[in-house]
């Protein structure tokens, strides 16, 4: 057992890691999976055809079909260079700590159609480490092979394969945390939540087979393997966030969706089961099973006023392979919930409010000092994206200005003194930021 000074040092290091992780998680929520002009160039469509706000990320039903068709739809005018780029500058004002103005991210996208049946999305992201040094990493990947316009029983059928590195990112409805990047950033969380510590997002590789029947019934099944720590390092990820060695991992998704042109709704279930060896010492494994459901509704009307609502509820059942302390329990549950509402006016102005809650069963041996990991957070964002619409000056580039407010009311099981000793409160994680994003 560690002596007291070392335990304090270890705890302080863990707390700093948590602080860093919270910031990184919200940064992810602000910048990931945006509309990229390469798809507009490829299809002749406006960004706003696929996204409610013309810079994304929320998908319209048309955008979901584009994704399901393997990013291969085209205007038929020959080969388009499948490359786009994005720059993001941020004015960040945290509740605690120094404010900053930085070029925070520079991204390259390799995305679009290779053949009528093969297409993809690959994001290479370069993030400012705070000292104007940029760490480059391989972000989300979704490569697809798709067989379109099949018939089964007289109904339309689409079948495809997705090779991706983030369970849930490939989902067409895009409400799951892997796709929306909206997940509660706590001291623990479900495997399907990319904001969870040691989440598999971007540190695994997997393949899923999917099908859409009668434009309504969606099914998907697949498996994932975690990348070696050295590979994660080479791809730009700190090995400390290793999701561990994953065994017998299965991913299953079913959803029913209806596109009524002026409205859209969906109801789905998702499951992910894995045995996790963390750390990778050949020791015991944790058995983790995520079971979730999601509900979404969109009012699209004539696209002047768009309302999008979603609710995601994921319960993770854990059977731990080891007991780190005598007080630790052999089993537990973690429960992530996200409710999001967004209103978009004229496909340019968006107000998004997201309420994120993570709770867990009591375990005094794992969640110090209060025995519960509960976190409650909100993201409130206001966007303006003037281009990317049918009547826009250009489809070659797009711009988004956003004001974001991250707010915590509970973290690590408490509102105040969240690490036990006086000094750090949940609201210390609050932050306001203004971002300017340019894509071309």
């Amino acid at each position: 057992m560690l002596s007291l000074p070392y335990r304090r040092m270890a705890r302080r290091t863990r707390n700093m890691t948590v602080l860093y992780g919270v910031g990184a998680a919200f940064s992810l929520a602000c910048t990931t999976a945006q509309a990229i002009p390469v798809y507009a160039r490829q299809t002749g469509s406006a960004c706003a055809d696929c996204h409610a706000g013309s810079y994304g990320p929320a998908l319209t039903p048309y955008g979901m079909r584009f994704k399901l068709n393997g990013y291969t739809d085209t205007d038929g005018k020959g080969f388009k260079l499948p490359v786009a780029a994005q720059l993001i500058g941020t004015r960040n004002v945290p509740a605690r700590g120094e404010s900053s103005n930085r070029l925070t991210e520079a991204d390259v996208y390799l995305a679009g159609r290779l053949t009528d049946q093969v297409g993809g999305y690959v994001k290479v992201s370069s993030n400012n480490d705070g000292h104007n040094r940029f760490d480059t990493k391989l972000s989300d990947v979704d490569l697809r092979f798709v067989a379109k316009e099949l018939k089964l029983g007289g109904k339309d059928l689409t079948l495809g394969v997705s090779v991706n590195n983030n369970p849930g990112f490939q989902d067409p409805i895009a409400a799951l945390p892997g796709a929306s990047s909206l997940g509660p950033p706590g001291v623990t969380g479900t495997v399907l939540n990319p904001s969870s510590p040691n989440a598999p997002a971007n540190r695994v590789i997997g393949a899923t087979v999917y099908g859409l029947y009668d434009s309504r019934w969606y099914g998907e099944a697949g498996t994932y393997n975690s990348l070696q720590r050295s590979t994660q390092d080479r791809l730009g990820y700190n090995p400390n966030g290793d999701p561990g060695k994953l065994h017998d991992t299965g991913y299953v998704r079913f959803a029913y969706m209806r596109d009524l042109r002026r409205q859209f709704f969906s109801a789905g279930v998702v499951a992910l089961s894995t045995k996790r060896e963390l750390p990778r010492t050949g020791g015991p494994k944790d058995k983790l099973t995520d079971l979730g459901y999601d509900l979404t509704y969109q009012y699209l009307g004539n696209r002047e006023h768009i309302v999008q609502l979603s609710y995601v509820n994921i319960l993770e059942q854990r059977k731990y392979g080891s007991l780190p302390t005598p007080l630790a329990k052999p089993r537990g549950t973690v429960h992530d919930q996200v409710a999001t509402a967004a209103y978009t006016f004229k496909q340019s102005y968006t107000l998004l409010v997201s309420h994120m809650v993570s709770t867990g069963s009591r375990d005094d041996g794992r969640f110090f000092p209060y025995g519960v990991p509960n976190t409650t957070a909100n993201l409130i964002s206001l966007y303006w994206a003037p281009f990317g619409k049918d009547d826009s000056y250009t489809a070659m580039a797009n711009l988004k200005l956003a004001a974001n407010w991250f707010r915590f009311t509970r973290f690590n099981g408490a509102s105040d003194n969240i690490f036990g000793a006086p000094g750090t409160n949940a609201r210390d994680f609050n932050a306001f930021s203004i971002t300017a994003s340019v894509a071309f």
Binding site: S45, R261, N302
Partner: protein
Amino acid sequence: MTASPAFAGDASAGSDVFKSECAECHSIKEGRNKKGPSLFGVVGRKAAAVPDYEYSDALRAQSAWVWTPEQLHSYLGQPAKRANPGTKMKYDGLNDPKQLDDLISYLGTLH
């Protein structure tokens, strides 16, 4: 003389129908093709006549078709695959008669 039933619709309301039913795949700008060809000047145009759009063989084969209001009424009132088997167009059809009239009236204004 009575007006053609297809032009009895409300073009203003048809603009909204266009935005929800057609705009993802068709532009109203002259010369701008998306997944489908530009619908600028579609009423009265011969089928498969936009010069820089790659039509399906199935529509090219309908050389006698002209997009009159009556032809549009028939074409858009049923699934596109039934109206023109082999077409690239993916549309289930508009089965609300008023919306269909409104839409065709709106298309008639695109000149």
